[in-house]
């Protein structure tokens, strides 16, 4: 048999090749020309800064994602390189090094929930059957908790956290994972009751209540609320606690973790997050004082507590 290629077929093949090649070449030339003509000069520093940032796009810096902050911080010489809270001091130092700015001091922060009124400690005024979200629940007469300042427990913060650092306790109170929390502040703005705030990670004693109600009102609504008795204000050896409109507040700059207030609080509102199993600084100091027999009046009580769990 003799194999011959049909002349028409050959022509079609040649034409097809020419067309595809032509289209390819035309676009190639146009694109190459466009790439040259419309080349955008990007600052290589932006790319470096972008790589140094965590890339979570949480918006804690106030810009639209990490790329936005990287561009702004390179462009604007007055902008602080330490705005990335999730990155903490390491990233601030790295960014500052890349763009030649001085790294500001970044105090590591962590989110703290200023309410202990969970399902069994704080009562509810009515049964809320709506959308299970704090921002929806608050629209119904300010939420179903009797305490109008307290945590609603429908987990808006839990859903908002971009780092999965918040979990809900079995009694519907948010629990912050200090390891995962980057202090981006997303939960702070997500909470309609504003009970979450950023506090210095190093400070472990918190007055975990947000209620500005008077004592009897608080007592009725919640087992663990601050009744504004003022015992902690009087007892604090550093004068770090003050009463602000029926709510005790700690000045974290002055607090030395002496734990006097933790012992004094009759409502157990003041929480001490120092792990009792760990021998942390101030605790050992107090224990030593006690051993030496020179325990001063306020130091006695915490030392006794420190000895207990051991």
């Amino acid at each position: 048999m003799q194999e011959t290629v049909h002349p028409d077929l050959l022509q079609v093949i040649i034409k097809s090749l020419a067309l595809m090649g032509g289209v390819g070449a035309a676009f190639g030339i146009v694109l190459a020309y466009a790439a040259k003509k419309f080349a955008v000069e990007t600052d290589p520093l932006v790319e470096l800064v972008r790589a140094a940032l965590p890339g979570a796009n949480c918006g804690a810096c106030g810009f639209a994602g990490c790329q936005g902050y990287a561009e702004a911080v390179v462009k604007d010489p007055t902008l602080s390189p330490g705005l990335c809270t999730p990155g903490k001091a390491d990233v601030a130092a790295l960014v500052a090094k890349i763009i030649g700015k001085v790294a500001p001091e970044v105090v590591p922060m962590v989110a703290t929930v200023f309410c202990r009124g969970d399902e069994c400690k704080a009562s509810r005024r009515f049964v809320y059957e709506g959308v299970k979200d704090c921002r929806a629940a608050i629209l119904v007469a300010g939420g179903d908790k009797t305490c109008q300042y307290g945590c609603l427990g429908y987990g808006s913060c839990f859903k908002a956290c971009p780092f999965g650092a918040i979990s809900m306790s079995p009694d519907n109170l948010p629990v912050i994972d200090h390891e995962k929390c980057t202090a981006c502040g997303v939960c702070v703005s997500a909470c309609p009751k504003s009970i979450i705030a950023l506090t210095p990670t190093a400070k472990k004693v918190h007055i975990r209540c947000s209620s500005h109600d008077k004592g009897p009102v608080v007592k009725k609504a919640c087992e663990l609320g601050c009744v504004a008795c003022g015992l902690c204000v009087k007892g604090c050896p550093e004068g770090a606690i003050s009463m602000d409109n029926f709510l005790a507040r700690i000045d974290y700059e002055k607090c030395t973790h002496c734990e006097t207030c933790v012992m004094l609080c009759p409502q157990r509102t003041i929480e001490d997050q120092i792990d009792p199993s760990k021998e942390t600084g101030p605790r050992t100091k107090l224990a030593r004082k006690e051993d030496a027999g020179g325990g001063s009046e306020p130091a006695d009580a915490p030392a006794a507590k420190a000895a207990k769990p051991a």
Binding site: V12, K15, V40
Partner: protein, 194 residues
């Protein structure tokens, strides 16, 4: 003439809506309809790319491919044209209008290999449309897709808060909603009798 174009526009936007009647472009439809902002951005980019690529493909198809008898290559060539055009638009937009680029840039890349963008030149070549008709088809399809995206985005923003049973949360309920809207769009089918 004008009446004819109006018919094509209405037909492609409502009666033969790409998402609800032809079931094309569903990946982008479900992907970007979670938020109104992205839906609007996508709609605008999509319509612009659709019109221009319809025009470009018409020119290449009718002036080069048909005279050379290479109509069978249209799908390959159209893909090349759309991809090349989108890439070019990306480059040019970055330089000329960085603000617009930041708003629409991310969608441009998604569009390159979208099936609706490919369907428009294929349909216009199958129907042997003239140049104006091809552009109108692109415009109508863009409007129809925008309509679908914006309807879906507004519903899905509300669905976020609705008390949906657990197995149906997310995509399943989105598909059900799409089916219901498609059912409603069936009502347009008698609008124009050709």
């Amino acid at each position: 003439m004008l009446e004819d174009l109006g018919t094509i526009f209405i037909a492609s936007a409502l009666i033969n809506n790409f998402v609800f009647s032809r079931y094309l472009g569903l990946c982008i439809f479900f992907g970007v309809s979670k938020k109104m902002e992205t839906a609007v951005g996508m709609s605008m980019t999509f319509t612009a790319v659709m019109v221009i690529s319809a025009a470009l493909s018409w020119l290449v198809y009718n002036l080069v491919m048909l005279p050379a008898g290479l109509g069978f290559l249209k799908i390959v060539v159209f893909i090349g044209i759309v991809a090349g055009f989108v890439q070019g638009a990306d480059t040019v937009l970055k330089k000329i209008n960085p603000t617009l680029y930041h708003k629409l840039g991310i969608y441009l890349v998604l569009i390159t290999t979208n099936c609706i963008i490919l369907a428009v030149p294929v349909i216009s070549s199958d129907e042997k449309y003239n140049f104006m008709q091809a552009i109108t088809l692109g415009l109508g399809s863009g409007a129809g897709f925008s309509l679908a995206l914006i309807i879906m985005a507004s519903i899905r923003e509300r669905l976020e808060l609705a008390n949906v049973p657990k197995p149906f949360q997310g995509m399943p309920i989105a598909f059900i909603v799409t089916g219901l809207i498609a059912l409603a769009f069936l009502g347009f089918s008698g609008l124009i009798t050709v």
